[in-house]
Amino acid sequence: MNDKPWHLDRRTMLKGMGVCCCLPFFEAMAKTTGQTTQPRRLLNLYVGNGVSLPHKKFTKIRDDWHWFPHAAGSDYKMTKVMEPLKAKRDQFTIFGGLSHPKSRPLLGHTAGDSWLTGANVGGEYRNTISLDQVVAEHYKDETRYSYMNLSTDGGTGYRGRATTLAFDRNGQPIPAENDVRGIFERLFQIDNAKSLKARKIELQKKRRVVDLVLQDSRRLKKNLGKADQQKLDEYMATLRDLEARIERLEAWQNIPMKKFDSSHLDLSVTLKSPKEYIRSMCDLMVLGFETDITRVANYMLVREDNLGLGSKFSTVLFGFPDHHGMSHGKSEKNYKEWATYDRFLIEQLDYLLQRLTDAKDEHGPLLDNTLVFYGSSNSTYHNARNYPLILAGGKNMGLKHGRYMKFDENKENLSNLFVSMLNALDVPTERFADSKGNLDQIFKA
């Protein structure tokens, strides 16, 4: 499958050590391979319904509470909304002017489906693979799970109002999970003997099927002319890849979970206490990176429109109208409330970034090897342009921060940023969706 000695080593070692292989295994392996295997990770965090951009006539509120800073560059002044991130100023970049051209004519809520895909989701809906899934596919053999996909509402939602950020290669939505305890048990407590045995049998059967097809192919090959033999070789190579993949999955079944400390994790949270719930979801993603069970995580904190549970958080927490309702408001009071809620969400982003800084692996703080992408597909009320976006972390991938970068939407598509992000994540990419180039300015001071 792969010529990296890394994989082979792992397999060889496993065979030698059997089921009892001990815990420091991964660190040991990481040490022997050094900096080259420093994992790169991606975390996407979505908040629907846009942000408060107070109308010009409310000068004071606009000055203080406008989500976007009022001037671009590295000496930009944070408004009250961004203040929770003050201490981390050199850890993130704010983007202005970016959006997906195909979604610009759409009702902003519909554009949520295309946040990570850049696809055409209006008219004849044709969604395509999302950014996280491209990364997940690239790294799927390196970790136990190729991605973690969370959302406050869970499931897939429906076309135009997805409750997931992830879409597969055929543009089909990938269901998200929202039950904190359930996620923890499924992803982190995997050493349950009964289900382990069932999984092993399934994989074993699958391997037998592939073995037989390979055997059949070899028989056929003997009776073919040379050109056909070469053609058949191409197919057999994919079968061998498949076999190797099944073997790797089998190998994972024999590796016990890395030891971790989950004492800080509150599994009893419910949606009735939004702040605790959001933080537990963030903790789960951080734990996933800490234990290196995955390199990719999504969390759709608030879905679009008023249908979701996330839309109610503003009412539960502050007694404001629901999030979607606020996005329709036009009064001074409303803009202020909405911005106050925006600030609350930024506080949660700060919490996440802090947790990623505190959690360390052998390469240092996780945040330095993680891209955290935060934002919405609406700038404000139903407007699918000029997305409010923040990119944080990734110091070790060459990202330069501390700026508000503003772009002309006629020149830069959001997909251009995705191209640069993918390359930062070591997923060599020339094009993503409708990209017309890259946004490599993020690597330049």
Partner: protein, 847 residues
């Protein structure tokens, strides 16, 4: 046209096709060599060899010599205008440069043609469509199994089944396995008995004496509810299908089901005593943004509790509202998904004439399989269906706008049954788990079942050794399977992943004889994948088994063309030959052309398919494809074209008036729209399409590094296409090629970007490369019929051969092709005759 860019030089060469042989090398010493000597030798001669190029040492015999690749580079430089460099003392005159370009182009084309002698015949993988159709015929389940497979790439000739150029990836192999697992789960059902659901709605003013206070409805844009007083809902389920206890029992799904006329305007419908009155529906106007609805008005059932798969039947009780109105109303149905911002749905193919009267209502049935429609997805987290399914009907005597009255219908009731409909166990299961006296003895029966399936899947008798191997797998899987059915299912997955199923093996075992030798079984597959785009049926396999197929070819061809599966040939061949799929990608400016919408576009696709099918089934002359006095239309497309008196959604043959401008493929909306940019006609695209598809004389690919016309550039966007074209032609390095392409497209200038006739005098006049000046589409068709008649025949034969054989053609095929063309001409160009000549030719059926 841009396909070849970035390919290695030889691949570029291979892109050019029919060559004019033997006319290019004569003038070399007198006309060509002096030009090179005069302008190039200083830097690329005895003294200096810049870029390692030395003209006096290059072999002037491009066709047979070894320097073709270098000459291609020379041509590229000339086309780019890069050589000789701008600062050179002397630069060639335009006429000289043109002489060089023409000589190089012709010679390189010839060289490419010769090169094709080496065309390799390589076994081909089933295309996505062939795979889907094969599973359908093998499992007796009409489902789009292959829809998740990655799309097949196109060969240089535009076909998907060219073995040499097909690629395969791990992703594809993983899909083959997943799809096989899924398909066999549907074919062999272990959780018995299945459940049937039934949703019955009756309509009429005030018929519900005990109305619910409120519907359990979602709120979306433009809802038009049917009052709870004006309808009744009863839903029921049958959990014992196929057993003695089989019966429908009322359940509580009705609580969550309701009818609606979302999007309808008041004037177009009313609630009457006998039901809901629907006037002819008006298609939704495409705005390219967020709302999309069914034609309005449509009466739509909204169901929330719902199986996601299985057969369905929709029964609609309907009558004509006004017996005096002479026009016939039609009924059409759709199935889809409710969305906040509209509906996502597929229309059922059938449009049924409404003949019932108020005294005697008529019941119309529509059948299908849920998986083939965009039904809502199941949300595994919530264990619920993400949104609602929409089952709608409308009056298909479609109206252009509110002013059209037309014949109204009254819908009295709608009943939707789904999950399982029909006999139990289903045909698919009986077909795999065959009747046998050994069915009680697993060890023996399993072998019979597996062998029977393998024979059909491999399209030939499986050898003893092969059956042993697969049966061995079954033995190893059986202990880990809960039931016999499951063990069979899991074993058969491997049969569907075997290369013996996925590939069409045609080459003999070495050291067998000539390349044209194929076995009778291989011939059966070649024939059925050609004429049906699917696997051979029992009869073909039986004839092959008896070694009689080759002798009975004419009768079998005849039978196969009459079989409905030949529709899959028409669809697949036309799609690839005429690039139909690509044609649907044009994003039409709906503000400029508000009447163009997806119904029109889809009907354009149907027009072309049905037109070709008509020529085939009525065994007409292929010259009808160039110009015909008929086309295939339904009301919607006819109205769009401005042709009156075609009523109803059903397609039919329509005889065209002399000035209709719609005869033949060239005049069909699909290609005129597909080869436009959505705002204006695009003569380059139209011209290139015409010469490559209709005349099989594709233009050479543009020289490397020629910048694409950037339509997003505001400076360019301001110019009309004609102006862009003019600007392009001013560049001397472009004009040579374009003078061979553009005139063909310019002759179609009287059709606008969506293919409507907009005559302007002189707009469509152009001079063809032959020097002949023509004016307009009629002259063009006459020219092809009279002067390019043989070329068109040959073109169609060649396209069909590439498709049928799954390979490019080479020089060595020439004689056989000549023979086929001769026969076709003798047989008055009839299409069936052409297919017979082709199939019985040694090229196809070998020895």
């Amino acid at each position: 046209m841009n396909r070849g860019r970035g390919l290695p030089v030889l691949a570029l060469l291979a892109l050019t096709a029919t060559a004019v042989l033997g006319e290019s090398d004569a003038g070399f010493p007198n006309t060509i060599q002096p030009i090179f000597a005069k302008y190039c030798a200083d830097c690329h001669g005895k003294e200096k060899q810049k870029g390692d190029i030395r003209f006096d040492k290059l072999d002037p015999d491009i066709v047979h010599g070894k320097d073709a690749e270098t000459w291609q580079l020379v041509l590229d430089q000339l086309n780019l205008g890069d050589m000789p460099p701008k600062k050179a003392k002397r630069r060639p005159k335009d006429s000289e440069r043109r002489a060089l370009v023409n000589w190089l182009t012709a010679s390189l084309k010839e060289a490419a043609e010769l090169k094709r002698k080496d065309v390799r015949v390589v076994m081909r993988r089933l295309t996505k469509e062939q795979y889907t159709n094969s599973l359908r015929d093998l499992l007796k389940l009409d489902l789009n199994f292959g829809q998740d497979l990655p799309p097949d790439g196109l060969s240089v000739d535009g076909f998907k089944n060219n073995g040499e150029e097909q690629v395969i990836s791990l992703l594809q192999t993983e899909y083959f396995m997943t799809i096989a697992e899924r398909a066999l789960k549907k074919a062999i059902i272990t959780d018995t008995p299945p459940v049937s659901y039934r949703y019955s709605f009756k309509f009429g003013s005030g018929i519900n004496k005990d109305p619910r206070p409120k519907d359990d409805r979602k709120s979306g844009a433009r809802e038009v509810p049917v009052s709870t007083r004006d309808h009744t809902v009863v839903t029921s389920e049958n959990r014992h299908v196929g057993t003695a206890a089989s019966a429908f029992v009322v359940n509580d799904f009705g609580q969550r089901s309701y009818p609606d006329l979302r999007g309808a305007r008041n004037k177009r419908f009313s609630i009457e005593q006998d039901g809901v009155l629907l006037k002819p529906a008006i298609p939704h106007v495409e705005r390219g943004d967020f709302i999309w609805l069914t034609p309005m008005p449509s009466l739509k059932l909204h169901l929330r509790d719902f199986p996601m798969e299985g057969d369905f039947v929709l029964r609609v009780k309907v009558a004509r509202a006004d017996a005096k109105n002479e026009a016939s109303p039609y009924l059409r149905a759709c199935i889809g998904e409710w969305l906040d911002h509209g509906e996502d749905y597929e229309t059922l193919e059938r449009s049924v004439k409404v003949t019932g009267t108020l005294d005697k209502f008529q019941t119309i049935e529509f059948r299908g399989r849920l998986e083939n429609f965009p039904v809502p997805i199941y949300d595994p987290e919530k264990k619920d269906i993400a949104t609602m399914i929409v089952v709608g009907v409308w009056n298909d005597a479609m109206a252009r706008d509110e002013s059209v009255k037309g014949p109204a219908i009254i819908v009295k009731s709608m009943e939707f049954e789904c999950g399982h409909v029909g006999a139990w166990p289903p045909a698919s299961q009986k077909h795999i788990l065959i009747a046998s006296k050994h069915s009680g003895t697993e060890a023996v029966y399993s072998r019979e079942v597996i062998q029977n399936f393998m024979n059909r899947a491999f399209r030939r008798p499986a050898t003893r050794e092969e059956v042993d191997a697969y049966h061995g797998l079954w033995k190893s899987l059986r202990p880990d399977c809960a039931s016999f059915e499951q063990s069979i299912r899991e074993t058969l997955v491997s049969v569907l992943c075997s290369p013996n199923f996925l590939y069409l093996v045609e080459s003999p075992a070495p050291p067998a004889a000539a390349p044209n030798t194929i076995t009778e079984h291989q011939l059966a597959s070649r024939l059925s994948y050609f004429l049906w785009n699917s696997m051979p049926d029992d009869r073909l396999l039986k004839l092959a088994e008896q070694k009689q197929l080759r002798d009975k070819l004419p009768a079998e061809i005849d039978r196969m063309i009459k079989d409905p599966r030949s529709g899959d040939f028409v669809t697949a061949f036309c799609e690839q030959w005429l690039q139909m799929e690509k044609m649907t990608h044009t994003k039409v400016d709906v503000r400029k052309f508000p009447r163009f919408n997806r119904f029109v576009r889809d009907d354009m696709l149907r027009e072309t398919r049905l037109f070709f099918a008509e020529v085939l089934h009525k065994d007409m002359s292929i010259m009808n494809l160039v110009d015909a006095d008929f086309t295939m239309l339904n009301q919607n497309l006819a109205q769009f074209y401005g042709i009156n008196n075609v009523k109803g959604g059903q397609f039919r043959k329509v005889t065209l008036a002399d000035d209709a401008k719609r005869g033949g493929l060239i005049s069909q909306g699909l290609f005129l729209t597909g080869n436009s940019n959505g705002k204006e006609p695009h003569p380059i695209k139209r011209g290139a399409w015409l010469i490559s598809r209709i005349l099989d004389d594709p233009p050479p690919p543009p020289p490397p590094n020629v910048p694409r016309i950037d339509e997003d550039d505001p400076a360019v966007a301001k110019l009309s296409i004609k102006e862009q074209l003019k600007r392009h032609r001013e560049n001397p390095s472009c004009v040579d090629c374009h003078s061979k392409v553009d005139p063909w497209g310019l002759l179609l200038e009287n059709y606008n970007a969506v293919g409507l006739w907009t005559h302007r005098d002189g707009a469509a006049e152009a001079t063809l490369p032959s020097g002949k000046t023509l004016d307009g589409v009629d002259a063009l068709k006459q020219y092809i019929l009279n002067e390019k008649n043989e070329q068109f025949t040959r073109a169609l034969v060649q396209h069909l051969l590439r498709y049928a054989l799954g390979r490019s053609l080479s020089f060595t095929d020439r004689a056989a092709i000549d023979e086929i063309v001769k026969q076709v001409e003798k047989d008055n160009h009839r299409l069936q005759g052409l297919l017979r000549a082709m199939i019985t030719s040694p090229l196809f059926s070998g020895k």
